[in-house]
Amino acid sequence: MITKDNYKESVKPYQGKPPLLKNCLKAFIVGGLICVIGQGLTYFYMYVFDFTEKQAGNPTVTTLILISALLTGFGVYDRLGSFAGAGAAVPVTGFANSITSAALEHKSEGILFGISTNMFKLAGSVIVFGTVSAYVVGLIRYTIQQLL
C-alpha cells in the first residue's frame, strides 16, 4: 500500500535503477580518450615546438579548452556530456563547456548583465572550491614541512 508516509520508499521500484556500470564504462572510455588527446597535444608541443614537458602543460590545456568551447558552440559537447557523464564533465573540457554554455545561453541579455554576469554561474563553485582547497592543502603542506 502506497501512502503519503511511505511514499518515497514505496515508489523506488517505479523509478528504475541508473545504469551505473554502463555509465562508469562510458565515462572511463570518453574521459580516457580526452586525456589521450591531451597527452598527444603535450607531445606535439614538446617535439614540434621544443617545449619541456612542464612548458607544454599550459598550451595543452589551452588547446583543449579551445576545442571544447568550439564543440559547445557547434552543439556537440552537450551530446557528448549526456552520453559520457562524468567522463566529459571532469576533464578541463567539461569546465570549459560549463563556462561557454552559460555565456552562450545568456548572450541574449547583453554582454554585461548577460554574458559576463552569468558565464561563471556553473563554474563558480569549481573555482571557489578549487581555490579554497588549494589554500588549505598548501597550508597543511607548509606546516608539515616546518615540523619535519
Partner: protein, 335 residues
Amino acid sequence: MKQGKNSWKFTNGVYIDGNATVTGPKEAKGPLADTFDYSFDDLYCNEKTWEKAEQALLKKSIGLTLSKTNTRQDAVDLFISGDLLNQTISSSYVARDMDIPFFGVFGACSTSMETVAISSSFVDAGHCSKVVAGTSSHYSTAERQFRYPTEYGIQKPNTAHCTVTGAGSVLVQKEKAAIQVEGATIGKVIDYGVTDPLDMGSAMAPAAANTIVQHFKDFGRQPDDYDIILTGDLASVGTPILKKLTEQSGYDIEDVHQDCGLMIYHDSQKVNAGGSGCASSAVVTYGYIMQQMMDHKLDKVLVVATGALLSPTIVQQKESIPCIAHGVVIKRVKD
C-alpha cells in the same frame, strides 16, 4: 453548477471550437506529427531569443484558433493563458499584441486544463460568450529557467522529462460546436515529499490520483464511463504510480489511461521518462484527442493536466515539490 465536493458541471452548454496546436521540430518528428496544425523546423521559431520563440509559438496558435473559427479579436470577450516562465511572460507578451481583456494564470504544466476550466465557468455563468484559452512551453526557456544552459553537457537520470516545445489554444464558447465541455474537477495542491526536480513523475502522480478519484466520487462515475482518461505529463515513472494509487482507492484505470508525455515522442528520441511542460497536455489534447473526437473515434475523455509547482530557488532550499492536477471532461456532441 457545483457537482459533489470539488467539481463543476456546466449545465448551460459550453463548447470548444478552433482547437489549434503549434510545435517545435522535435515534436514534429514524433508519432503525433500529423495531428499538429503547424510545426516550426527551427527551435528558435525564426526569432532571436528562446523567450521570443515561445511567444511565437503561442501567437501562432492563437492566430490559428481565431482563423479556424473566423473569429475577429473584438468578438472575443476574454483571453486566459499561462506558461512556465517567471511572471508568465510568454502569455503576457502575446496578450500585449492582442486587443482582448486578459487573465494570466499559473498552474505549471496543469495550465492547459486550468485555463479551459476557468474559461468554461465564465461562459457557463454568462459572463462571456467567447474565451480564448491558451498555453505554451519551450524546451530551451524551461531548461534555462529550471535547469542548465541548453549547451551544457550533463547526463540526466532516466526519471527526467523533456519539456515539450509547443503551444495550444482553443476557443471556449456558448455557440454550439463539435466538442462540449461537460464539467471540471479542480485539483488540490498535493505534496508527498518528493524533492528531486528531475523526477517529476513521482512528484505529480499523487496529485493526479487525488483529482481523478475525487472526480469519480463527485460525478458518481467509474473509469469505464470514459474512452480515455488522459494525464498530462506523468510519463514512464508517474504513470504506473498513478495506476497503483487509483487502484488502491478502488478505481482501476489500467484499460482507459493514457499519458500525453508518453504519446508525444518516440522511445528513440532520447527523452528519458517522456515529455512534460504546459504544451505536453495542450498539443496532445487539442490535436490528436480532439481530432479523434471529431472523427467519431472517441466520445468522452477526461483530461487531467498535471503540474509541479516548484521553483529552482525553493528546491535548492531543500523544500519538497507541491503538485496539482485539474481535470476537464470533454465529450463529442452527437449529430
